[in-house]
């Protein structure tokens, strides 16, 4: 959409020559083959492609919860493949916010406590953790639902708690895997409004995997998977 912006901005994520091969039984499946991707800071990128094309795989690699077979992923100049597992965990806690299709909230915790979870890994005292979690819930419009448990919330509200959990640590990048996939149009729109606001007003870089063209148009740009690499135009 706004490519001139991307040229001048600082690159936050740079994936170069990413290959991901799964071995099942005797045969190996090449999911990604030499993929290149630059995500500038402040970008809102939608990733589309047929099922099984490797969208989630790429998102997991960028988020450091999976490792590439070969190639390199740099995040703000740091190479993820040079970090060991515990360094990677610490890095995720500081820099990455995940939003899953299935929000995966802990059912026995209130919205407030669910949002506080990532803050347990920080040095913040309890009062500060509560304050930040409350602020995040307010930002997603759930200030009046802090004491509710996931079962007492609608699907859209649950996903908004998921968004609050992802942003509470003030990460640099939000990685969303089909964040509206489980929601009806109205609830989905509310989430997309939220993501747009987080990108536009709070400067969050967002990479969002989606099947829904209606969702993709909210992003600044869209890339399509084609045979293990990314292209700017859908191959029809």
């Amino acid at each position: 959409m706004n490519d001139s912006n991307a040229v001048t901005a600082e690159t936050l994520v740079r994936a170069s020559g990413i290959t991901k091969t799964y071995r099942r039984g005797g045969e190996s499946i090449n999911v990604l083959s030499g993929l290149m991707l630059d995500v500038p800071r402040g970008d809102f990128l939608a990733l589309m492609g047929p099922s099984g094309s490797g969208k989630s795989t790429l998102l997991n690699l960028i988020g450091g919860i999976d490792r590439a077979t070969s190639g390199s992923i740099e995040f703000a100049g740091r190479r993820l493949e040079d970090m060991n597992e515990s360094e990677l965990a610490r890095w995720r806690a500081r820099h990455v916010g995940f939003i899953f299709q299935m929000h995966h909230l802990l059912p026995m915790l209130t919205a407030q406590d669910n949002v506080e979870l990532p803050l347990l890994l920080t040095g913040f005292p309890g009062a500060e953790r509560r304050r930040r979690a409350a602020a995040a819930l307010k930002l997603v419009g759930l200030a009046d639902r802090v004491k509710h448990k996931p079962a007492e919330l609608s699907g859209g509200q649950e996903q908004r708690v998921g968004v609050a959990r992802a942003i509470v640590t003030d990460p640099d990048i939000l990685l969303c895997d089909e964040p509206t996939g489980d929601l009806d149009r109205k609830a989905g729109d509310a989430i997309l409004d939220l993501l747009q606001a987080l990108n536009g007003e709070h400067g969050k870089t967002i990479v969002m995997v989606t099947h829904d063209p209606h969702a993709a148009v909210r992003a600044k740009r869209t890339l399509y998977f084609d045979q293990g690499v990314l292209v700017t135009q859908a191959a029809m």
Partner: protein, 385 residues
């Protein structure tokens, strides 16, 4: 929200399962407390016995008597401070089921020997002047409602008087208490002379001799000297430390200690299986959630601690309730059993062992599920969810 709060919340994810597991841990630890107290009743006293005394009995066993003259011969040996004597009279009150240990001793020499047995000095002085006097244990006095000055008839299962009667009239001169848990307050002590003058057989003999050592480290040498003194005589002796004697006595009771240990081990082993299976299920159900926690930055070690902590919390909670009730049960039982098992007691040592066992149980049971949670691959877990 805190990490321990998270563990606690996780624990109550499946209320029924947690309650059932807690109940079995609870029952196991009540059982542990009662069994530990039982074990104490049989073998516990032994540890408290000092080693400054030797016990000399007939080589063929306690039921054979030894001449009282042995007392002076032993007293003249090197390393011996003093010698006292005892005769077992197999006492009871009215009926044999009212068993009351009745022992004839040599006046205050016996009480000089056993500093652990405390008698008020003025009562002691009275006893020494009363031929039929008796010093009775505090518990006996309490149970029968006997007071100093009362005259009571105790019967002997062994010794009859010349009149043919086995009743021994005793005047209660004093009541003793003990300063060491290895001793009980269940016995009645009478003068050896009173018994010896009136009994129909066994005159001038004793059941055992108690030897006070100058130096406990000389015990083995003195014991050998004593037995050598009477070697090849018609009545040879066997001398051991009081502690060794008590140990051989308890091992005759059927090694209750070992049996209790086996039972407790079996119970703990089944607890291990129960807790490990509960935690295994918990981790299995929560695979996706644990994967999410890892994704948002929980390290493998954080996840390990989370699961181990939950397992510990579950076990320690159940164990605390169990040990608590176990203690109360033991206290109640101790009151009722004092006549038969005076040493029945849930000791501080047993409590500490119980806590240590609960800790190890929690860690051990949580180890495998925790390791599984730690090693679980996020992408696979999230994909399956």
């Amino acid at each position: 929200m805190t990490t321990s709060g998270l563990m606690w919340a996780n624990l109550w994810r499946r209320k029924t399962r947690t309650v059932v597991t807690l109940l079995s841990i609870f029952v196991a630890f009540v059982l542990f407390a009662v069994l530990a107290a039982t074990r104490q009743a049989f073998v516990g006293g032994v540890d408290l016995i000092g080693n400054e005394r030797l016990l000399t009995i007939h080589k063929s066993g306690l039921i054979f008597a030894l001449p009282i003259s042995y007392r002076n011969r032993i007293a003249s040996l090197d390393g011996v401070v003093s010698v006292s004597i005892g005769v077992w009279m197999q006492g009871y009150f009215q009926e044999p089921k009212n068993f009351t240990p009745l022992i004839a001793v040599d006046n205050d020499a016996y009480f000089q020997m056993y500093r652990e047995i405390a008698v008020p000095p003025e009562q002691m002085a009275v006893w020494q002047k009363e031929r039929t006097g008796a010093i009775i244990g505090k518990s006996v006095a309490a149970r029968r409602g006997w007071k100093v000055g009362d005259t009571v008839p105790l019967r002997s299962g062994i010794y009859r008087r010349e009149s043919g009667d086995n009743t021994w009239e005793l005047k209660i001169s004093g009541i003793y208490d003990v300063t060491n848990k290895a001793f009980d307050t269940e016995s009645v002590m009478v003068h050896f002379d009173y018994l010896d003058e009136a009994r129909t057989f066994g005159r001038d003999t004793v059941g055992w001799l108690i030897v006070k050592l100058k130096d406990p480290s000389q015990a083995a040498r003195v014991a050998k000297d004593i037995d050598a003194l009477f070697a090849n005589s018609p009545r040879e002796t066997k001398t051991t430390s009081e502690k060794a004697f008590a140990e051989s006595f308890t091992s005759q009771v059927g090694d209750v200690g070992a049996i209790v240990t086996y039972v407790v081990s079996a119970v703990l082993l089944s607890m291990l299986i129960v807790i490990a299976s509960t935690m295994g299920q918990a981790v299995h159900e929560r695979t996706a959630e644990l994967a999410v926690l890892k994704a948002i930055g929980f390290s493998a070690r954080n996840v390990l601690f989370l699961v181990l902590g939950e397992s510990l919390l579950l076990t320690m909670f159940g164990a605390a309730l169990g040990l608590g009730l176990g203690y109360t049960v033991c206290r109640t039982l101790a009151g009722q059993l004092t006549q038969y098992m005076p040493a029945f007691w849930f000791t501080t040592e047993a409590l500490l062992i119980g806590i240590a066992l609960a800790l190890s149980l929690g860690l051990l049971a949580g180890a495998w599920p925790a390791a599984r949670a730690m090693r679980m691959r996020m992408v696979d877990a999230l994909r399956e969810a």
